[in-house]
Every structure is written in structure tokens, then in C-alpha cells.
């Protein structure tokens, strides 16, 4: 099904409205133009809803419906955001200049976390997809499934201590934690995808002479791809939610570590600035994954 007009069933021409006859004009060009218009409309929609949201937020704080301890005004958060990205005096009037927060700019904290997430999620894919394929197609699934379910339900806060004891307080333990967050949804989605592979597609490739391994790579994997990508998106989301738990201990630089410290100091404005930065970074990452999905799985809903 296409993106916007799914349930009308008129899937071919995007946008849902029938284009007018246009004489000799190249219809591919026409389609491109319609797409651009649609993209613009979308952007408008998002901007409008964002502005609306900020306005509501501003009003709520302005009317003092919520105490600033919990919800500072947009202005205060913006100030915290700017301060965290610049060299600034430690307090008003002081001549001691500090760099950002905890000696790193906010964007440096973000980059540090992004690196950890990237490695953790990459490891999650490298382990989760083959493991999922294996578990979905062999008796290993029966054996390992309970352990997978065990691991994927453990609260990081309960076992992060063990990780630190084993892998130290450096990045290794943090990456492990992010990996352990990202890999189970990827593995679960892969297994579920494998179960949905059409029997006759497997049969077909076997009659063409595929070996066990070739069946996996030429049929099971591509046909599982949509679910793997959904799993990946969920996994990345999980990794983000775990970034604070991962960076509670020795997590500077790191946006999660910063948010935690700021929380401990009751600096809600900075906490919310961190939250928003995390949210936007996550949205951007997810957008990228969606483009990947569209490029890799053009046949979804068609066959």
C-alpha cells in the first residue's frame, strides 16, 4: 500500500486525487511535480504542528499551570540549549569561562552518544539478523528462544553493574548495554519474518538447486527484509531509550550522561534540552531508516 492513500485502494497515482488530462506533457515529469508538491505540503504540516505545540507549551508555562521545576518555559530551555553549546561564564558576572556543559558542547555530547549507539546497533544487526535467521530455520530456535526472551526482558539498571564489572567503566560496557538493547527486537523481528516466508518461495528456490545457505540468502533474507527493517527501527529506538542508563556511570561526554547529571542537579531546563535533542536525533535517524526501507523493499504490499 502506498503512503497516503492506502485505504482508498487507488494506489497507483500518489496523492489520492486524479490528475487532470494534460495532452502531450510527459507524465513521468508530471508525477515528479506532484511528488514535490506533496513533499512541500508535508513540510508545511509538520512545521505548523510543531509551532502549535511550542505555542501550547509556552502558554502552559506562561499561565503557570505547571511549575518550572517540571516544565520550564521554551525560552528557558532554549537558553539552556544555547549555553550548553557555547563558551560561557560559570555564573553571571563571573570571569571564569567554561566550555558548554561538563567541558563539552552539547553537540559533542550528542556525537559521543551517537557513536556508541552506532556501534551498539551495528553489532545488534550483525548478531541479531544471522541469529534470527538461524533460530527461525533450525532447531537452534527451540533451544535458544527462552534465552533470547530472558535477555531481552532484563532491565538494564539491574545488570549494568555486571557489565561494568566485566567490561569496565569505559565505552565497552556502554556499547554492550546498547547492543543488548538493540539486538533482541532485531532478532525477534527476523524470526517472525522468517515464519512469514511463503513456503512455495522456498520450495521454488530449492528446485532451482539452492543449497541451505543459498536459500537463506536468496529467499529467506530478502523476504524477511521488511520485518528486519522494522526490527531495526525499533532496535534503534530502544538504544536511544537506553542511552541514559548506559551513561549514568562515567557517561561524560554523552547526552544521556549529561541529562542524568542535570537531573541530579535539578536543572530541568537542561534535561529537557537534552530530551529534545535526543528526540530530534532519533527522528532524523529514523527518517534515514525509512528511506532505506523504501529503497530496499519496493515490492511491499504488491506481492
Amino acid at each position: 500500500m502506498t503512503d497516503t492513500s492506502v485505504d482508498t485502494g487507488a494506489g497507483t497515482t500518489a496523492g489520492g486525487r486524479a490528475p487532470q488530462p494534460t495532452g502531450g506533457n510527459g507524465a513521468a515529469a508530471l508525477e515528479r511535480r506532484a511528488k514535490r508538491a506533496q513533499r512541500l505540503r508535508r513540510l508545511g504540516l509538520h512545521t505548523a504542528s510543531l509551532v502549535g505545540l511550542i505555542l501550547v507549551w509556552w502558554l502552559v508555562t506562561r499561565l503557570e499551570l505547571v511549575r518550572p521545576l517540571y516544565l520550564p518555559s521554551p525560552g528557558a530551555v532554549w537558553d539552556a540549549f544555547v549555553t550548553a553549546n557555547t563558551d560561557h561564564p560559570v555564573s553571571e558576572g563571573s570571569d571564569r569561562i567554561v566550555r558548554g556543559e561538563q567541558n563539552y558542547y552539547l553537540w559533542e555530547h550528542l556525537v559521543a552518544s551517537l557513536q556508541r549507539i552506532a556501534i551498539g546497533v551495528a553489532a545488534g544487526v550483525v548478531v541479531g539478523v544471522p541469529l534470527g535467521l538461524l533460530m527461525g530455520t533450525t532447531w537452534l530456535g527451540v533451544l535458544l528462544e527462552p534465552y533470547l526472551n530472558f535477555v531481552r526482558s532484563l532491565p538494564p539498571l539491574a545488570y549494568v553493574g555486571l557489565l561494568i564489572a566485566w567490561f569496565g567503566i569505559g565505552d565497552t560496557s556502554k556499547i554492550w548495554l546498547l547492543f543488548l538493547a538493540a539486538f533482541p527486537p532485531i532478532a525477534v523481528a527476523t524470526i517472525s519474518g522468517v515464519k512469514g516466508v511463503r513456503e512455495d518461495q522456498v520450495n521454488a528456490v530449492l528446485t532451482l538447486g539452492a543449497s541451505r545457505r543459498q536459500t537463506l540468502t536468496t529467499v529467506v533474507l530478502p523476504s524477511t527484509l521488511p520485518e528486519v527493517l522494522t526490527g531495526l527501527r525499533v532496535g534503534v529506538g530502544f538504544a536511544w531509550t537506553t542511552v541514559v542508563a548506559a551513561e549514568i556511570d562515567n557517561g561524560i561526554p554523552g547526552i544521556g550522561g549529561l541529562a542524568y547529571l542535570a537531573g541530579g542537579q535539578l536543572r530541568t531546563d537542561l534535561v529537557i534540552a537534552c530530551i529534545i535533542v535526543i528526540g530530534f536525533a532519533a527522528i532524523a535517524l529514523d527518517l534515514g531508516l525509512k528511506y532505506l526501507e523504501r529503497a530496499l523493499v519496493p515490492w511491499r504490499g504488491k506481492a
Partner: protein, 332 residues
């Protein structure tokens, strides 16, 4: 399963004083797992026994910061927190969100929080230059550590690497040679000492240098004003618990052990590192009666420098957030 079940076996304990049936307050109290009189009061159900018509709700909190947030949400009326969060909460702009007063000093932190170093050749904090020191940030230990470093002329941002680490994770990092020292409390402190660590400084020392740290009892000021009798009884019972720690440490330790879920012996050992003050001592000039407000001002100035707060209040403002009343009434 419903929440709010309190100790079953000790709840039938008697009130040490004449129970006051006229008090019908509902009081919600935030507690933290720190071995002091508050836990004895909680475990023995003294508040419930002495004010049979009052409704007491105990709310567990993980840190002083959490307690401040509980106050802000209107979820609690009394709460225990370290001197740093109490100072933050008494400074602009937080004071606008939570209007609380310090009414009790549950303990003065002494050897209970100390700097334990791994290398036995290190005897001076200055020898830690270039090393890694672990401490739970935003805690009283963090404050003491920074004080001690600055005292020695060591720049906490440059000369040493200070790492935020939760106490339960320190033994692992310690074992793996990832930290050179830690400023921490029990049971981690004892664990590190057992693992070959040496104590070179403690909060006792920083206190002597004029930078004491406390675990404070706080109350919502409106609540305190409206429930004077409750506050008095509360302070009397806290005083009773303090005296029990001094006079019958085994019984007190048992209560603490029950709440913390540890051995009574371990609980008893933890008493050693803390100084408990009777109501009379508390009400005096050295503490609630005067100096505590100054200590808070000192703390505030320091926190400003560390970026913890944005503005230091006037001495009068801090004095306003200390209320020796309940302690004084309790000691009479």
C-alpha cells in the same frame, strides 16, 4: 498486592511517650535508605503508635533530588535529603517551586563517607593528581570531594579526572583498576576497604575544615505551620531514636537492618561513621539554631561555582529555610 504494607512484627511497638490522639494529620514522608534515626522511627512504627489517629504514609526515594521533585509535585510533606539538594531547593529559582524548611539534622556525616584510595602509598590527596576518582555526582560525597580537592589547590576539572559512578558499581571498577580512588559511603566504603583500600580523608575532615555535610530532615513550610503538634511529636520521636542509637545500639541496629535488608552487625558498624544529634544539640547555635544556615550559604556559593545553581541567595534567605522550632519544642 497493595503497596504501603509496613513492618508487621514491629508495628505493635509502644509509644515511648503519651500517645496524642488529637493529632489527625495525614503526613506523607519521603525516606531514603540511610542508617539513621529515621529508619528506626519507620521500622518501629513510632509515629503510628504515638499518633494513632494520624495517617502516616512512607514514600521511598532514591536520592535527595527525587525528594525535591516529590515536594514539587505535592506528593510529600516531609522528607530526608542531603545538604546539597536542600541548599539547591532553598536557592533561586527552585525555592519558587518547593518551599521547604530544614527542621532536623538526621546525622552529621563523618567517617561514613570517605576517600578510599587503591594505592597504599598514597597518603595525601595531592598524590592523586592525574588519577581517576569516582564519586556519585550531586551527592554530599561529591561536595566533600570537591571541597577537599580545592582546599589542596587541586583543580577538579584539570588535575584529576572525576568520574560519576554509582556506589554499587565502584567495586567492579576498583577491581578492574579503572579508578584510583573513590569517595563513597557504606556498604561500598567497607567493601573497598576490605579490598585493600586505604581511607585517606573523610567527610569528618572536610567538616573540620568548615564544610560539613548532613542528612537533613525537611518539611513543607505550609505543612509545618499548619501541623505544629505533629511536628513536635515527630521531632520528639526522632530524638527518641537518636537516643536509642546511643543507648541501645543493638535494638536500633536491628531496626535499621530490617529496613535496609542487611545484617544488624553491618548496620551497627555503619553507625560509627555518622554523628547523631539530640534535639537539644540540634536546636543550639551550632546547628539549626544558627550555623546551619551559614553552612548552607557556603554550600550554595560552592554549588554556584560548580554550575549546580545559578544564583546564591542572601544569608537571610537561607536562615528563613531553617526552622529550629520543632527541635526546640521537642527538647523542652
Amino acid at each position: 498486592v497493595e503497596s504501603g504494607r509496613e513492618s508487621t512484627t514491629a508495628a505493635d511497638s509502644d509509644c515511648p511517650f503519651e500517645p496524642d490522639e488529637s493529632i489527625e494529620t495525614t503526613a506523607r514522608i519521603a525516606w531514603q535508605p540511610i542508617p539513621n534515626g529515621d529508619l528506626v522511627v519507620k521500622d518501629l512504627g513510632l509515629l503510628e503508635a504515638c499518633m494513632p489517629n494520624a495517617k502516616i504514609e512512607w514514600v521511598q526515594a532514591a536520592s535527595g533530588g527525587d525528594v525535591v521533585e516529590y515536594y514539587g509535585g505535592g506528593d510529600v510533606d516531609l522528607g530526608l535529603m542531603g545538604s546539597s539538594p536542600a541548599t539547591i531547593a532553598s536557592s533561586e529559582p527552585k525555592v519558587r517551586d518547593v518551599d521547604l524548611a530544614v527542621v532536623w539534622i538526621h546525622d552529621v556525616i563523618g567517617d561514613a563517607e570517605s576517600l578510599v584510595v587503591k594505592d597504599e602509598n598514597v597518603t595525601e590527596i595531592s598524590q592523586l593528581k592525574g588519577g581517576k576518582i569516582a564519586v556519585p555526582f550531586s551527592s554530599t560525597a561529591h561536595y566533600s570531594l570537591l571541597q577537599a580537592l580545592i582546599e589542596e589547590g587541586i583543580d577538579p576539572n584539570k588535575d584529576v579526572k572525576i568520574i560519576n559512578l554509582a556506589p554499587e558499581k565502584m567495586p567492579g571498577a576498583w577491581q578492574g583498576d579503572q579508578i584510583d580512588a573513590a569517595w563513597v559511603w557504606d556498604p561500598t566504603q567497607s567493601q573497598l576497604l576490605d579490598d585493600g583500600g586505604t581511607r585517606i580523608l573523610s567527610s569528618e575532615d572536610t567538616a573540620e575544615a568548615g564544610r560539613p555535610t548532613f542528612d537533613l530532615g525537611t518539611v513543607d513550610r505550609t505543612f509545618a505551620a499548619e501541623n505544629e503538634e505533629f511536628m513536635t511529636m515527630w521531632a520528639k520521636l526522632q530524638d527518641h531514636a537518636v537516643k536509642m542509637i546511643a543507648d541501645d545500639p543493638d535494638a536500633a541496629a536491628e531496626s535499621v537492618a530490617v529496613v535496609l535488608g542487611i545484617e544488624p552487625d553491618a548496620a551497627r558498624a555503619q553507625f560509627e561513621g555518622l554523628t547523631y544529634l539530640t534535639a537539644e544539640e540540634q536546636a543550639g547555635q551550632d546547628y539549626l539554631g544558627g550555623k546551619l544556615a551559614e553552612d548552607m550559604l557556603t554550600t550554595a556559593k560552592f554549588l554556584l561555582d560548580q554550575g549546580g545553581i545559578t544564583k546564591v541567595g542572601t544569608p537571610e534567605e537561607y536562615a528563613e529555610h531553617v526552622d529550629a522550632g520543632p527541635a526546640r519544642r521537642a527538647s523542652e
